[in-house]
């Protein structure tokens, strides 16, 4: 009950948010923050049970026939993520109230961000994979709505769409993967699948399922080559960037990898694919971050790099790596959330986010500067902050990587050096040196804007000094969930003088050196513009444009506007299919059942054929109408030949009426005009002949077959005795099948109304 409530209270508040915001006005953020705070406290209360391995569960049936259950469970991994989501969520709600103060659409903003928070909690608490997927998609949707929050800007809209298409596309891959995994493992419950892992990794569908899962995780967590949507997502208001696009949503992929590790992990495919994606992303993110000058883009690319590190660690797959991943998860969420909020505060106060036009803000914004400094130090991995411990663990894990350890370590060092530089550019540079002119005259940010960054930065310091606070209560249960084994975790600042420490020192020094050489790299990047064809964002755009071009071309081709081509297509398709099925099954083509035609039948046939030719080639409509009449009367004569005088009478009546009407109408029409060329006439004639041939063959086949005695004998027998009528056709029309006649009468009545309206009602 409680677990479901933590999720659905968020959805409920999301629905009510716009209305409550009208009542609460400026206090909305503070009041709303109470919900995630309560959730965090409530969940934290379970840490003892979770540590003891007693996962908390709750389950409700939703669509049992499809296997969709709202089943939740709370283990170490879920708890760690859920606390980050709800804890940072509370701070972000407060922050957003200050950041978007007075914005006309703030009510909707709260709605979306609460919807996101609830969905994200759903992702990390769900036990049922389909339920997880539903929440997963809802995070993509809320992300779309939030990135496009400044919806009148073209950039925001296209960035929102890009993020949605990429994460949505990956989401669909994930869905297919889930269904495959469900059919392999016999259940959609993660906890059940974890007990059947041997079967899964041996199954031939393991690899497809794994690839689909990875596609889902990599798109969501912005792994190369899908990383480019994340910098684009910076079009969102800063609270969104801090919350969704650095601290939580982009970690959903990481969560999925960690969660699926006991089920899908451990194989060579997993190891290589995940390691490769992580290492590449770590490096690419860092390299792309270096030349940036916009605070948020700097942070976005360094987030990409950090996500790469997390994925890489999960790919390495050792116990050391899992430890490093979980500690770094906390480290990164704290410093990156803090730095993003700081960037927003600076932007809010100065009116710019360009690091080149920021400086000396420490005197004006001391509290913000303090938060930024602490967070930046954690990012560089400076003792005694938590970031230092994180970096030590990462280096340790890379050193012990089972494959290509030196290469991974080398790339890791490069990425970390750049990260140190980025930390200095973002967290130190704007606050030191000379003051510069900014679009707005800066003041210290209000409480709501510095509370969040300072809290998170301070937490980084506190946890660095006393890592025992979370080591065994939160982090080691999470690692246990990934590894599916008992783990004892000792976190400490001082590991003694060893190679890893040396590496750390080297990283920081090299990072500082790089900081001073940053302008050189910016110029270098400026010259590399010609290489833009290498970037996936260009492929994305090209792919999209190409698809649109193809869509337009095929639509012009198919829906070309000419009725004659539509008809031609339909006739050709019909002939293709019918001929195929006519020729294929043998057995009926021997025309043994056909009696030799009698001479008057042949004569009638020739006459009708001639009439048809006259109708076709006549230049006068009148002649054509009369020729058609001849055909009709011919049919009536055939009815007589075969002993159906009732039918013949009906046919003659209809035919007479048709000819008279035709003649009346034809009288008012203009003379024939030949509009088509002889080539298209030839083509049409060919199609018509073939089509006629096809119908003839079908009818021949039907006459040659009599799979069952027909029911028509019943009508002849009972027409008089039961229905009291001598004309069988009439009896069929008005009694046996009177409902048909009702329908046809209706058709006539409607046609009359239609003609009347067409003649009388003329709108412009």
């Amino acid at each position: 009950m409680g677990l479901a409530a933590t999720i659905f209270s968020g959805f409920l508040l999301a629905i009510l948010a716009p209305f409550l915001h009208r009542l609460l006005r400026g206090k909305t953020g503070w009041v709303f923050a109470l919900l995630p705070l309560a959730i965090a406290i409530y969940l934290a209360g379970f840490h003892r049970e979770v540590r003891a391995g007693e996962a908390l569960r709750a389950a409700y049936e939703w669509v049992p026939t499809l296997g969709i259950r709202l089943s939740f469970y709370l283990d170490g991994l879920s708890l760690l993520f859920a606390l980050l989501i709800s804890g940072i969520g509370a701070l972000v709600l407060i922050y957003a109230g200050g950041y978007l103060h007075g914005h006309a659409q703030l009510g909707r903003f709260y709605s979306y961000i609460l919807m996101f928070m609830a969905s994200m909690l759903g992702v990390v608490l769900a036990d049922n994979l389909l339920a997880l997927f539903i929440f997963w998609e809802l995070t993509s949707l809320s992300s779309y709505l939030l990135i496009g929050f400044n919806h009148e800007k073209e950039d925001s809209r296209s960035a929102a769409l890009q993020a949605l298409l990429i994460t949505g596309g990956g989401g669909l891959a994930l869905l297919a993967g889930i269904i495959l995994l469900g059919s392999v493992g016999g259940s959609y419950e993660i906890s059940a699948l974890a007990n059947a892992d041997g079967v899964i990794r041996e199954h031939p569908l393991y690899l497809p399922a794994l690839l689909l899962f990875l596609l889902g995780a990599f798109t969501k967590s912005a792994q190369a080559p899908f990383h480019f949507w994340l910098p684009g997502a910076m079009a969102a208001p800063t609270p969104v960037s801090a919350y969704l696009h650095s601290a939580t949503m982009v970690k959903a992929g990481v969560y999925l990898l960690a969660r699926m590790n006991p089920i899908l992990g451990g194989s060579a495919e997993w190891h290589y694919l995940v390691t490769l994606a992580g290492a590449a992303t770590m490096l690419i993110g860092a390299l792309l971050a270096l030349p940036q000058t916009d605070l948020k883009r700097l942070l976005a690319y360094s987030t990409v790099s950090a996500l790469g590190i997390l994925v890489l660690l999960l790919g390495i797959g050792t116990a050391e790596a899992a430890k490093a991943a979980m500690v770094f998860l906390v480290v990164h969420s704290l410093y990156k959330g803090s730095l993003f909020m700081m960037a927003g505060a600076v932007d809010h106060e100065t009116g710019t986010r360009d690091v080149q036009s920021l400086g000396g803000l420490v005197k004006i914004m001391p509290v913000t500067a303090l938060a930024a400094g602490l967070a930046a130090l954690s990012m560089t991995g400076f003792p005694p902050l938590l970031g230092f411990i994180g970096k030590e663990l990462i280096y340790e894990a890379k050193l012990q990587a089972p494959t290509a350890a030196p290469l991974i370590l080398g790339i890791g060092v490069i990425a970390n050096i750049i990260n140190v530089t980025v930390a200095a550019i973002v967290g130190i540079r704007p606050f030191v040196g000379d003051k510069r002119a900014t679009p707005r005259k800066p003041h210290e940010a209000p409480l709501s804007l510095w509370l969040g960054p300072l809290t998170m930065a301070a937490a980084g310091l506190l946890l660095g000094l006393f890592p025992g606070l979370i080591a065994n209560s939160l982090v080691s249960p999470a690692i246990q969930a990934i590894r599916a084994e008992e783990i004892v975790l000792k976190l400490k600042l001082w590991h003694g003088l060893n190679f890893v420490l040396l590496l750390s020192v080297f990283t920081v020094l090299a990072g500082i050196a790089l900081f001073f050489a940053r302008n050189f790299f910016r110029r270098l990047a400026g010259r590399a513009q010609g290489l833009s064809f290498l970037t996936p964002s260009v492929w994305y755009q090209k792919g999209l444009d190409g698809l649109m071009g193809f869509a337009r071309a095929q639509t012009r081709l198919l829906q070309n506007g000419y009725l004659r081509y539509y008809l031609l297509t339909i006739f050709l398709a019909t002939m293709l299919l019918v001929f195929f099925k006519l020729v294929l099954p043998p057995g009926w083509q021997s025309l043994e059942k056909f009696a030799v035609a009698r001479y008057y039948e042949i004569g009638l046939g020739v006459a009708m054929l001639l009439a048809a030719l006259v109708a076709l080639f006549s230049r006068s409509r009148l002649t054509a109408a009369i020729a058609l009449g001849v055909i009709g009367y011919g049919v009536a004569v055939i009815f007589v030949f075969y002993g159906a005088p009732d039918l013949a009478i009906t046919q003659i009546l209809i035919e007479t009426l048709s000819v008279i009407l035709f003649v009346l109408v034809v009288y008012h029409l203009p003379a024939f005009n030949r509009l088509s060329g002889s080539r298209s006439r030839l083509r049409d004639a060919l199609v018509a002949l073939l089509f006629g041939g096809m119908m003839s063959a079908l009818v021949l086949k039907a006459t040659n077959l009599q799979l069952h005695p027909t029911i028509s004998g019943y009508f002849a027998e009972n027409s008089l005795s039961l229905a009291h009528g001598r004309n069988v056709v009439n009896v069929i029309l008005v009694d046996f099948r009177a409902l048909d006649t009702l329908g046809e009468i209706t058709v006539l009545a409607v046609a009359a109304v239609g003609v009347f309206a067409l003649l009388k009602l003329k709108l412009k």
Binding site: E137, L138, Q554, L707, L761
Partner: protein, 502 residues
């Protein structure tokens, strides 16, 4: 005699006749329309309830025993379709009250509307092939006149293409009936099913089955027969498009599912693989067609085609789960698509155009409308937990279960393109600021805003149902599952029509 089976035909017929008698009083016609549509809805729901509880129902018209007379049958599939037709009819009729101009109303709009509903319901209920043809004619002529009513230039052009291509369909259908009757000597569908099941040479009807496939394929708007649909759906008044969008193609889908589960099952390997291929191509061409459009109604029209592909996918896969997916898809789609057309109409009323290049700013100015659009739009795109997600999920699970990877891949890819199209409307009409240029704001919009609630009422009703189908999909899914079971095991259907006879 089971009156509930006859009500869905007689109620609209009676309403049409009474409305036609009250030709000069629009007030009476409007009241009759609301009353009749509400009555139809009530009758349809009662029928559905009855079939759910008591199994398949049938009634022999004129008491002539099957297979000699005409039998009306309601299995769950048919009853669901009737209920959906009635719901669509009711919602669109409400919308018509505030949106159809008085000139059209005074030239028989209301009687025509009822005749259309009568034709649709008749098609869903008949157990006789020729009678099915008659109902096709009824709904064709009613829809043709509705489409042309008003005689605007665009309308006429669309209506001519519409009626010509649909007459080709009717001709093929009629020829098919004649030939099938020649071979089997019966028109009663249950009788056909029974006879063909016992007949060792029954694959000799395959060539005929192709005629039916194409005739219904044209009606359903499947590839490569869909041309009439994008050529005509954007031309008539919105209410007319909306009821067409909801119901017309679905009659074709219904007929395909009915015939190709009940009696054309001799060569499933060929026919249903063909249907599956057509389904995939229909999805793709439809969604690409939509991507190339820039007006809301044209985009939505092409999406009908693409969605038809999903419904046919279930038939092509031909497993109980897949058919349940098709039925669920029909339930979801009819409601969502009708609603999207109605919303497109509200946009047009507010902005004077539905050209995405000329309009914008709706998200800011009309948040409720934005929400009402988002629900069916994201449902159509398959975003959970809305109805479309469960519909697509069912089909995808069904496809993966029997290793039909290609169609599943197609369905997933088309899903993301559908999302693309829906966000295109959202981005342009709702998020983008109203572009500068000649003021397009409809001068009539001010007066409409007063009556906007009348337009929004059916929209809200349908959106609420969409949310409900998503949030509580189990009962709907149970309904679809049982309907699919009746389709795949037609013994109960045959028994209900023919009685205990062998």
């Amino acid at each position: 005699m089971n009156l509930l089976l006859i009500f869905p035909i007689t109620i609209p017929l009676l309403t049409a006749i009474l409305s036609a008698l009250a030709w000069r009083s629009l007030k009476v016609q409007r009241a009759l329309g609301v009353l009749g549509s509400a009555g139809l809805l009530a009758a349809a729901l009662a029928l559905l309830m009855n079939v759910w509880r008591g199994g398949i129902q049938s009634v022999q018209m004129g008491s002539w025993p099957a297979p000699f007379g005409i039998t009306l049958v309601a299995d769950l599939f048919g009853a669901i379709m009737v209920a959906l037709a009635a719901l669509t009819g009711f919602a669109v009729l409400l919308y018509s009250l505030g949106s159809i101009d008085e000139r059209r109303q005074s030239f028989g709009y209301f009687p025509l509307f009822q005749v259309l509903l009568m034709g649709v319901c008749g098609a869903f209920l008949t157990g006789d092939l020729f009678n099915l043809y008659v109902w096709f004619e009824v709904l064709l002529i009613a829809s043709f006149v509705l489409m042309a009513l008003g005689g605007e230039r665009g309308q006429m052009e669309g209506a001519v293409k519409y009626v010509t291509l649909n007459l080709v369909s009717s001709a093929l259908f009629l020829a098919g009936i004649g030939i099938l009757y020649g071979k089997t000597g019966t028109l009663n569908m249950a009788d056909l099913a029974q006879k063909l099941r016992l007949e060792p040479q029954s694959d000799l009807v395959n060539s005929t089955s192709m005629l039916f496939l194409i005739a219904f394929g044209i009606k359903a708007g499947a590839f490569p027969f869909f041309f009439w649909l994008p050529a005509s759906y954007h031309t008539p008044p919105v209410a007319v498009s909306a009821v067409f969008a909801g119901l017309l193609t679905k009659v074709g889908v219904y007929a395909l599912i009915r015939c190709f589960t009940l009696f054309f099952v001799q060569d499933v390997q060929f026919t249903h693989t063909l249907i599956l291929a057509l389904a995939g191509l229909t999805m793709v061409t439809g969604v690409l067609g939509a991507a190339a459009q820039n007006e809301i109604r044209r985009i939505l029209s092409f999406h009908i085609i693409s969605q038809i592909g999903y419904m046919l996918m279930g038939l092509g896969l031909m497993t109980p789960l897949a058919l349940a997916g098709s039925v669920f898809y029909l339930i979801h789609h009819i409601i969502v698509k009708t609603n999207l057309f109605l919303i497109g109409g509200v946009v047009q009323t507010l902005k004077g155009s539905d050209d995405l290049k000329k309009i914008g700013g709706l998200y800011k100015a009309h948040p409720l409308l934005a929400l009402l659009f988002a629900i069916p739009a994201f449902s159509l795109a398959g975003i959970p937990p809305l109805s479309g997600f469960f519909a697509k999920l069912t089909l995808i699970i069904a496809g993966l279960k029997i290793d039909s990877y290609l169609i599943v891949l197609t369905a997933l890819a088309v899903g993301i393109l559908t999302l693309f199209s829906m966000t295109k409307i959202w981005n342009e009409a709702f998020w983008k600021a109203q572009p500068a240029g000649p003021a397009l704001d409809n001068p009539a919009a001010a007066t409409v805003t007063g009556g906007a609630f009348r337009l929004l009422l059916p929209v809200i009703l349908l959106a609420a149902i969409t949310v409900l189908i998503g949030a509580a999909s189990e009962p709907f899914f149970a309904l679809a599952t049982r309907a699919a079971e009746q389709l795949i095991h037609p013994e109960e259907y045959i028994r209900a029509v023919l009685g205990g006879k062998p």
